[in-house]
Symmetry: C2
Subunit: 448 residues, 2 copies
């Protein structure tokens, strides 16, 4: 069995490892256009901020280890340019510039996603970077080491930009964040987004929402971003304003695409062609709340879907339920977490949402060191179902969100969720967990 | 409507508050034999250890506030000695030694549980205490302040003893723990209990399991505990070897009792007598995993069941699903959490359990400060259901257990649980949450 994998990060390498374990005699080939495989992309903002850590420490497993210990044929610097679905082969250009073709019995597209920078003048200037892969991370860390960066401009206010804002502040660099949209974290309940805004501003991060981006200029040894009616200056620009799935290969081969142009897959990760799978950030997924297709590129899904393909390419029948969109990030002193859908998304999917937002504490009454936790919940008036949860707080948020995520997978209604027996001890929360307090309040709204 | 409540802690005061909100014209009376209402009993070990905190700070709401702000008639020092179910009244002795009787339309028994000390010679000596109510807490804090306690002997190794071991070590006091049973935390997976044992011993706590308790003696200004073949000396003894429900009133009135002698209640908290409810530590509960009756006295259940009675006594119909037995405690540098049932309990309830124990980390690959987390899971080979989870780790355990607790409430099978979309970011865990790694391993066992 010839199993060819395009892309050597989380999804691709999970699939390769799993296939070799399940079917040791399989010929497993990974074709990676870059020179890194199997690294922790999510760790990059932290490694950039820490003088003690090299970017190389983010590599979980080197290509050589996959070759020598697992018998996976990993080809680096190897760019796949097309798929001949009729003949069952991929073709492209290898590291040394030669054309190659490689036949497959099963093919996995694990091509990931790309950071999108504005297609505007000046975004090719030195000191302007995006952050998506390890090579980007190395360039940024190197740039910060070699230049006296006093002030950075971050485009976009998504979680990567927010994590980078923390990293740069840790390094003593001034940070200005700018985006065309009018609101910080528009998907979030306003009362929670406000806590994040306060945290950023109290830590000296300047926020400029509602500024259209016009161009970048280099002037007087500085970068100047012309945006809205004014301009911002800095020594470094992080230019990622979003991500998009790398689905060109799939589109060119005539495979179906799903939301946001991601490769459409069924619950076994099979594309519209029976010998071709897609997994990781390039593929779509079912959402466990809406039960419809969505595109939410996150690391756990990449690993899990890659692993499933490793099984299925070797004759398995692993079916994945889908994603709840659970995610967490830290921004300075606050943990920010979400799972499921918000009220706007709920309306789009035909629900009749009710929402609450409550404030609670991270430790018991009178226990020292307690910090505020704010919880927003969304439920459906029609069915009583829990649809989503969001949380912001100084501690105790990152893992708390998982209780709501499991409830979403189980299709639990708010009443049942409000009755769950959650852990209590004074150092870890109030007797009524913040999620339970919020669920009780939401229940009143659903019943009224 | 005359609503009489016996006992003024979590369950009793929750019921009183709820009833007055639901039916402001109700005559709500709380008869409390002690002089404290509505305090955080679980906070006592922490307040004892902290010179900056008074025990009084654990009081969430004073009796006066209940009287003046909520119109609840709170009677302190008022001991209820019997229930005349025929005439619908309770009788007893009030604070000033007078007999009283009080008629009710609805009665709530919220009499709590008591710490059990050995009925052996010497346990009435000065310096020998149990810790269950706030008066005990005050006595202990006072004793430690007034005496030069260098070494304490703790009987029993349950969570209160373990929290007190931490408190006493924080105060610089040597601690020896002794129990007749052969094992520390016998309900816990051995690989997890071992981590707790190491944590205790590395922090200078001496452990003496398997020692039968014979008697206490006062000798040379010290207390000596004669136990097993030897003896232990100290200046202070915490003598609680367990807890039992305070169900004498209910038993004398002919009400049905459940497991461990707790007052038997249905899902509305009604006892075998239609006008009498029981809630909190004195009452039993349905277990959401075994679906049978159990007695697990914990603070959230006390609050929740009291609140339900407040509704139901005023004509409501709140039904409680039951408990999963979710709990967490901290012992020195480790968080210890559990939910559901262990393999032995699973067998008792007719399941065919499979168990796994895995080690994972509290932060992502390469992220500084990661600590070990060990997870044990129990599943049923017959149905594939998840039955229980236990966790020990240096951080990230207390709230993580809640994801498993929700899965138990939902009756989720291990396969579905292994597919849940849990939050990931490098400061908070590995990509595969420790619970997911454990679920994957358990799935292999269930499928083999």
């Amino acid at each position: 069995m010839r199993f060819v994998i395009v892309g050597g990060d989380a999804a691709g390498m999970s699939a390769a490892s799993r296939a070799k374990r399940k079917m040791p005699e399989a010929e497993v080939t990974v074709l990676e256009q870059g020179y890194d495989v199997s690294y922790s992309a999510c760790g990059m903002p932290y490694a950039i901020a820490d003088p003690e850590r090299s970017m190389q420490a983010l590599v979980v497993r080197e290509a050589r280890a996959f070759r020598e210990k697992q018998g996976v044929d990993v080809q680096l610097g190897c760019r796949v340019e097309g798929i001949d679905t009729g003949k069952g082969r991929v073709y492209g250009t290898s590291q040394d510039g030669e054309s190659f073709q490689r036949p497959y019995d099963k093919l996995l597209l694990a091509t990931g996603a790309s950071a999108v920078a504005p297609d505007l003048p000046g975004f090719d200037l030195p000191g302007v970077e995006v952050l998506k892969n390890l090579e980007h991370g190395r360039r940024i860390k190197d740039y910060l080491a070699r230049n006296r960066v006093r002030r950075a401009i971050l485009l976009g206010m998504g979680y990567i930009s927010l994590e980078m804002a923390e990293s740069l502040r840790t390094l003593g660099i001034e940070v200005a964040m700018v985006k065309p949209g009018p609101e910080l974290l528009p998907w979030m309940d306003r009362s929670l987004a406000e806590l994040v805004r306060v945290e950023l501003e109290e830590n000296g991060v300047e926020l400029y929402p509602g500024r259209e981006i016009h161009r970048l200029e280099s002037r007087d040894d500085e970068l100047r971003l012309i945006c809205g009616a004014g301009e911002l200056n800095g020594d470094f620009v992080l230019a990622g304003i979003g991500v998009r799935p790398n689905s060109e290969l799939a589109a060119d081969a005539g495979l179906d695409l799903g939301p946001k142009g991601a490769v459409a897959v069924d619950r076994t990760m099979q594309t519209s062609h029976s010998d071709i799978y897609a997994a990781g950030d390039c593929a779509d997924a079912y959402h466990v709340v809406s039960r419809e297709k969505t595109w939410i590129p996150l690391a756990l899904r990449a690993n899990r879907s890659g692993r499933a393909v490793g099984d299925n390419a070797c004759g398995g029948n692993v079916r994945l339920d889908g994603v709840a969109g659970t995610s967490v990030f830290r921004v300075l002193g606050q943990e920010v977490a979400t799972t499921g859908i918000n009220a706007d998304q709920a309306r789009e999917h035909g629900f009749d949402p009710a929402t609450v937002s409550i404030e609670s504490r991270s430790r018991a009454h009178g226990h020292p060191g307690a910090q505020a936790i704010r919880v927003a919940l969304v439920g459906d008036r029609g069915s009583g179902r829990l649809l989503g949860a969001q949380m912001v707080g100084g501690e105790g948020v990152a893992h708390r969100i998982n209780a709501a995520a499991v409830a979403l997978h189980a299709g639990m209604d708010v009443e049942a969720f409000s009755q769950t027996d959650l852990a209590y001890a004074p150092p870890f929360g109030p007797v009524w967990d913040p999620l339970l307090t919020a669920a009780r309040e939401l229940l009143k709204k659903l019943e009224s």
